[in-house]
């Protein structure tokens, strides 16, 4: 017994010793010269981003980037929210406009206005101590983008980042030209079409308008009773896109924000419920998984092939839509809505991560220097070669057009994979893109209209009740 006791005491002393050692080497990184970057990239994409980090660290010795992934987009937001009161916010993070609106309403002082760097021609230099202990100076000339470069950026993407898109921006000390976010990579929604099934139903061309699409659904359903003609992945996107295409009103940046509870949307939801009842539609929540899984099953009257004919999903998810030879498929823009004047509105939503710069994290003693270095890292992420590599790997679209001149990217696009096809089409659509206004509560509004569509479509609520519940869940 005594021996055991001695052993226990010795072990616990050792353990206590270890603990102090571990405590001592806590946070080994040098916070003043480390840029913290939060993203929601999976392992594979992080490997690509490592290229940009390596390039940055080679160019600017003495500085390192610590890239971490707290989870999905919402987890990144939640993590940063918790970081603010603790003062441990990162220097750079993935964001959606909604997130930035939330950061602004409580912690606007930590948001960095990137317009001061965006086209700045100032020079910058810093010193560091190299391995041998000698002081070295690094000079950086023209920290901003040149005119030639900014002209290659997709204008619509850049526009999204200006403070004027945010409610009450002036209240928080920003001007309308303050640049709060920069696009990283972008995507939109596309319609994936089972061409084989369409031909079998006697439909020559994929539907270009919703009216046409519903007519097609009737034909398809008559031929293949157990299939579902249309799958739409995101309920919320569907609602928001329809509001945009038809001018029904979804949310506004000012006033009481929430416009979506109106007669037009009610009528539309009523129609959806009818179509759902006929078995025309499914959505991600209805099916309990991404509808791409249904699309690639194919359509026939045989068992196990009860898939979709039309599937609307993200251009970034094109690789999941590839049926690998089971049937011919095609990728087209999403249908548009006929207007009163006879034209068709083809608006489609703009998605994908942007980058937001934050300051004041980890009590860095050199906040201004760190801001500039973070900016230089942003430039590295927007570098055309890196953008090409990242776009190829992820299926997203680059934020600048000169990527299309890069050979590897051209080769990828010519390769004919679903990802390449989708990227090519999405690129052509950039003038149809829209983004909805961001304010504190806009992400909740998004969730709520998605739920409203779901409950109205499946018939568990009548449209007006679904919408009024959504409105009240928005705090109105």
């Amino acid at each position: 017994m005594k021996k055991i006791l001695t052993a226990v005491i010795v072990i616990s002393l050792l353990a206590a010793g270890c603990l102090t050692i571990f405590a001592a080497c806590a946070e080994g990184g040098d916070v003043d010269h480390t840029i913290y970057f939060y993203s929601s990239q999976g392992d594979a994409l992080q490997t690509i981003t490592d290229q940009a980090i390596a390039a940055f660290e080679a160019k600017y010795p003495g500085w390192t980037v610590e890239h971490s992934n707290p989870g999905g987009y919402d987890e990144v937001r939640d993590k940063i929210r918790q970081d603010f009161p603790a003062g441990t916010q990162p220097d750079l993070a993935y964001c959606y406009a909604d997130h930035v609106a939330a950061y602004m309403s409580s912690n606007a002082q930590y948001l960095v206005d990137m317009s001061e760097f965006y086209t700045s021609d100032r020079n910058f230099s810093y010193t560091y101590t190299d391995g041998s202990g000698a002081e070295q100076t690094v000079n950086v000339e023209h920290i901003g983008f040149t005119e030639a470069e900014t002209s290659k950026f997709v204008k619509g993407y850049i526009e999204e980042g200006y403070a004027k898109n945010y409610a009450d921006y002036d209240k928080y000390g920003f001007s309308e030209n303050s640049l709060l976010t920069l696009p990283f990579v972008k995507s939109t929604e596309l319609m994936y079409v089972n061409r084989t099934a369409l031909m079998a139903c006697g439909i020559e061309e994929p539907a270009e308008t919703w009216d046409q699409l519903w007519k097609d659904c009737e034909k398809i359903k008559a031929k293949y009773p157990s299939c579902t003609p249309l799958g739409y992945d995101s309920e919320a996107n569907w609602f928001i896109t329809m509001c945009q295409q038809n001018g029904w009103g979804y949310t506004s940046a000012s006033g009481n924000h929430y416009l979506f509870n109106n007669d037009n949307t009610k009528v539309w939801l009523g129609q959806l419920a009818e179509y759902y009842d006929k078995g025309y539609i499914t959505t991600q929540e209805d099916y309990d998984a991404y509808t791409s899984g249904l699309f690639v099953k194919g359509v026939s009257n045989e068992d196990g092939q009860n898939g979709l004919v039309y599937c609307i999903g993200s251009s970034g998810g094109a690789s999941h839509q590839d049926p690998s030879g089971l049937f011919d498929f095609d990728i087209v823009p999403i249908p548009g809505s006929k207007q009163a004047d006879g034209t068709t509105n083809y608006s489609c939503i703009s998605q994908g991560p942007s980058l937001v710069m934050l300051t004041g994290g980890n009590n860095a003693s050199n906040a201004d220097e760190k801001k500039i270095m973070t900016w230089l890292f942003v430039k590295e992420l927007l570098d055309p070669t890196f953008q090409a590599a990242f776009s190829i790997a992820s299926g997203y679209n680059p934020m600048r057009t000169d990527v299309f001149d890069i050979e590897t990217y051209q080769k990828h696009m010519a390769g004919g994979s679903a990802t390449a096809k989708a990227a090519a089409i999405a690129t052509e659509l950039s003038d149809r893109f829209f983004a909805s206004p961001a304010f504190d509560g806009s992400s909740n509004a998004r969730d709520q209209v998605g739920i409203a569509l779901l409950v109205a479509m499946t018939g568990s609520r009548d449209p007006s009740r679904a919408l009024s519940e959504a409105i009240s869940a928005c705090g109105q």
Binding site: E27, A44, Q46, T47, S68, N69, Q82
Partner: protein, 369 residues
């Protein structure tokens, strides 16, 4: 209270009322059981007497009236009834054991299926083809430097588990001893306050503690995973009760022998309560093994624990296993099940070897780590 009811709609009020009724009914049942328990206890002696009486009567009756044959018949009949009853008992127990085991079975076979088989309409109850690749896929980390390997996570968990149990047990012993055996001012109040904190949902601590450890610059370390959970009032309470059971005379004898408090604690108390200490150690380790929310909040992937690894990132493995058919954002449930299996296995092994101590600890403390 009135205002509360007025605010809720009338229907909600009805439900609340119904609930109150259920609660009252349950209380009544408990009280009645309790009363009967008291009654039975008080009549225990009487019952014993009656019992003796009965057997004597039976004995007398048997001797007087019945022939040998009748006794044998009766015994046989009783045996048959006993066997039938036992069969029912075994059937019932087997059914319960099967139901208890079913989720584990499902987890294990799912981890060995291919994703296609898993997603079939009518589930198969045995994998048609064993897909050991699932385990390989989760063990083979992708090339990214940011994502930790399984071994790194295992090391984290073992280091944290080892240190938090050893230091935690030392603190528990010291505190429990002081509370059980030593007299100092404010002891009872201190103990009462400590017990009161057990009633507070731990979720209330999480956010403030996050701010604290951030301010102390403790994030991305093992320390942050260990420190907040070193003190467990449950175990202090448990061990204190155990210490109290040791007769006071031992303490006085030790004092006479010139042992200090510390000496008495180490030389007498600890050896006497060793089984409880082992139970506490094991339960604390299981608790660390299962910790999830806190590590995710305070540490980056490299410094997280094994349960975080399970809920984490196997989305990229679809490509490795199925060559593009399941892509980057498709969570493969078979892989997740494989991970859950791998994490559960060590616990089961631990349980098989230390069954006695774990069960004893659980039955005394009633907590999960």
């Amino acid at each position: 209270m009135l205002r509360l009811l007025a605010i809720s709609s009338s229907a909600a009020g009805w439900i609340l009322a119904a609930l109150v009724c259920v609660i009252i009914a349950e209380l009544v049942v408990v009280l009645r059981l309790y009363k009967r328990y008291r009654y039975e206890k008080s009549t225990r002696i009487a019952a014993d007497a009656v019992h003796i009486d009965w057997s004597q009567t039976q004995y007398v009756r048997l001797e007087q009236g019945a022939s040998e044959l009748d006794v044998e018949k009766e015994l046989k009949r009783q045996k048959v009834v006993g066997i039938v009853k036992n069969v029912f008992v075994y059937i019932f127990l087997t059914a319960c054991a099967l139901l208890a085991f079913l989720p584990f079975y499902w987890m294990i076979i799912s981890s060995l299926k291919t994703e296609d088989e898993y997603r079939e309409a009518v589930p198969t109850f045995f994998p048609r083809q064993f897909q050991w690749g699932n385990y390989k896929a989760i063990m083979n980390q992708s090339t990214s430097a940011n994502s930790p390997t399984f071994w790194r996570i295992l090391l984290n968990t073992l280091v944290v588990g080892f240190m938090s149990t050893t230091i935690g047990v030392i603190i528990t012993v010291l505190t429990a001893y002081a509370l059980a055996r030593m007299n100092f001012k404010g002891k009872n109040i201190l103990f009462a306050i400590m017990l009161a904190t057990m009633m507070i949902p731990g979720e209330m601590f999480t956010l403030s503690n996050y701010l604290t450890v951030s301010k102390l610059q403790m994030r991305q370390t093992y320390t942050v995973l260990i420190l907040p959970f070193l003190v467990s009032v449950y175990y202090i309470y448990l061990l204190r009760n155990n210490f109290m059971q040791i007769p006071n005379s031992l303490y006085q004898a030790a004092k006479v022998d010139g042992l200090s408090d510390m000496g008495y604690l180490i030389k007498v108390m600890v050896p006497l309560t060793a089984p409880t200490l082992i139970s506490i150690t094991l339960l604390k380790f299981i608790g660390t093994w299962n910790s999830y929310i806190w590590p995710r909040l305070v540490n980056e992937q490299q410094w997280q624990m094994i349960t975080n690894w399970v809920t984490g990132s196997f989305v990229d493995r679809g490509n490795v296993l199925y060559g593009g058919r399941y892509g980057d954002s498709d969570p493969l449930i078979t892989l997740k099940m494989a991970a859950v299996c791998m994490v559960s296995l060590p616990l089961f092994i631990l349980f098989i070897f230390c069954r006695k101590y774990i069960m004893r600890g659980v039955s005394k403390s009633g907590t999960k780590g």
